[in-house]
Symmetry: C2
Subunit: 330 residues, 2 copies
């Protein structure tokens, strides 16, 4: 295993310390228990958005803490849910009278731990569960569909409405609506390697790809032979647009997300393939995002996400955001 780390045991702490130091203008790190919050704190009267989950998906979620997006993020060990005490401490630090909205990717461990934290939290709270991965129903760590890169879109749009002063019920309803309007499908060219395991999570032949892969290397729909970008994108877009997905005339947000080990040159190429396919279907690409936003350690591959976005969502997408990983001011 080749990784830029000191020891497996300290990798998360060392990385988080670097993250906090590099972005001390945006975030501060709490260490016991671990969570990341806005450097300036959360203003009174604002609904506090908290996410979290296993590490190894950077910049998700800590990279999205800041004005216009999350108020706090709770990083677990690599590919391991954060714990209820982290979530509770984060809620107590950033939550107040307006309440807390937990944004949780649908994995059994995360769901259970966030539920425990919500029960323990002595204040108004609600949860948005993201499950945008259209690849498979039920998976290695999930009942139902998995929450993957579409979570970034949920966090951005709900982050904007919370920043604008929306109440908890509005944030929760919008989050559910964005999640329901969002579909993602991924493909892996290589496995990832979890530091504590020291070897690739799964085996993939030199001429194979995993279509529909999960962000922890969970099995997808099928092994495919090496294929051209256009063909891969076609299968992914087809899967997303099936069954209630975006259709002719719909404006969409198109996210092409790198899994961590994919050159940007290839991501833009995949974006181009996805864009053409969307246009062929009569979709209007209203907004685009290309880059590494929800990764799987060193996995090579990418995911495509489409959100069928109404005017409200697009307006909130455009609202200013100032985080380590996503930044646009007005």
């Amino acid at each position: 295993m080749k990784k830029l780390i000191n020891t497996v045991d300290n990798a998360l702490t060392d990385s988080l310390r670097g993250f906090g130091a590099a972005h001390s203008d945006i975030v501060s790190v709490n260490w016991e228990p671990k969570f990341v919050q806005r450097a300036g704190g959360t203003r009174k009267g604002k609904v506090a958005l908290i996410s979290g989950g296993g590490s190894g998906h950077e910049p998700l979620h800590a990279g999205f803490v800041g004005k216009g997006m999350l108020d706090a993020a709770c990083p677990g060990e690599v590919f391991t849910s954060s714990t209820p005490d982290q979530m509770l401490a984060a809620a107590e630090a950033v939550g107040a009278d307006a309440g807390v909205l937990f944004i949780v990717k649908n994995y059994s461990g995360d769901v259970m731990n966030f539920e425990m934290a919500a029960e323990m939290y002595d204040g108004a709270q609600d949860t948005v569960l993201t499950n945008d991965d259209v690849a498979v129903e039920d998976s290695l760590y999930t009942q139902g569909r998995r929450g993957v890169a579409g979570t970034v879109i949920v966090e951005k749009i709900v982050g904007a409405v919370a920043e604008a002063g929306a109440d908890l019920a509005t944030c929760k309803a919008l989050g559910d609506r964005v999640n329901a309007a969002t579909g993602t499908m991924g493909v892996a060219l290589t496995s990832c390697t979890v530091p504590a395991a020291g070897k690739p999570t799964f085996e993939l032949g030199e001429d194979e790809m995993e279509m529909g892969v999960g962000i922890h290397g969970e099995p997808g729909r099928r092994r495919v032979k090496l294929a051209e970008a256009d063909a891969l994108a076609a299968e992914m877009i087809e899967a997303i647009c099936k069954e209630g997905g975006p259709d002719t005339g719909d404006p969409v947000i198109l996210l092409v997300n790198g899994m961590g080990g994919t050159p940007l040159m290839e991501l833009y190429l995949m974006y181009d393939a996805a864009r053409k396919l969307c246009e062929d279907r009569g979709l209007t690409i209203a907004r685009s995002l290309v880059g590494d936003y929800c990764t799987s350690l060193d996995m090579a591959g990418c995911s495509i996400t489409l959100t069928r976005a109404d005017d409200e969502m697009l307006g909130l997408w455009d609202a200013p955001v100032h985080t380590a990983a996503l930044r646009w001011d007005v």
Copy 2:
């Protein structure tokens, strides 16, 4: 070879088309010959900054075209210099009475081609040659030191002064000054694979790293056995701080740059290692940047760059920038 492409021959064109479409608010792409320029054009009376070189280092350089940074970028084929006709066409498109400043990484092919373009260009022009790589003197494609990730810092700072209305001589002098104040050292954990070659550029054992690697996979200083992040960072910082590098009391810009296949979690960990070493030397980390800015296709590894920055440079670093890959507004 596993890559998200359609054909080797079309990879650059397909990717560039995606880049142009994803960022049509920032850039426009000219196809015959290929260059990227600002969507809004370059304003009259402003010195035009043009860079370019082989592709495979994305987001360098096209990702830095936009307000506050470059006016145009000329992408060559992968790891192959762009051609004089591209550079000349870009200069004719964006250059005007205030003149053109070419920013060129020091590789023999790039230097020769930019020199030819400069000779053919019928207007005021000058060139800043970047050679920040402290690893080796002379290399596979270079006489003298190589230009690597420090080029991003040169482009940002000179971009800001040009945007503020500085004349050609001022831009040129500042560019040379930033370059001279900048040192970079890289380390590779894996080789990269050039699409046209179809196999890794160099062989690296399972327990080996290449210390001082170039951004095309050129040999560095030595093969090292797998080492801890702290030890790698120490060798890199030592190399940069030797011989006229930053010293006690100096404010520095610290860039930890991913080579394309490196998880963000590891980059922040390397940032933390570099930060501690800088502080131990009495350097003041005035600004930080962590991410993939000057890559080598799918290479795993990173580089560390330090720029000894005076107040003018820091002010220009902070000035607004609005490009695909670097964006901060005020």
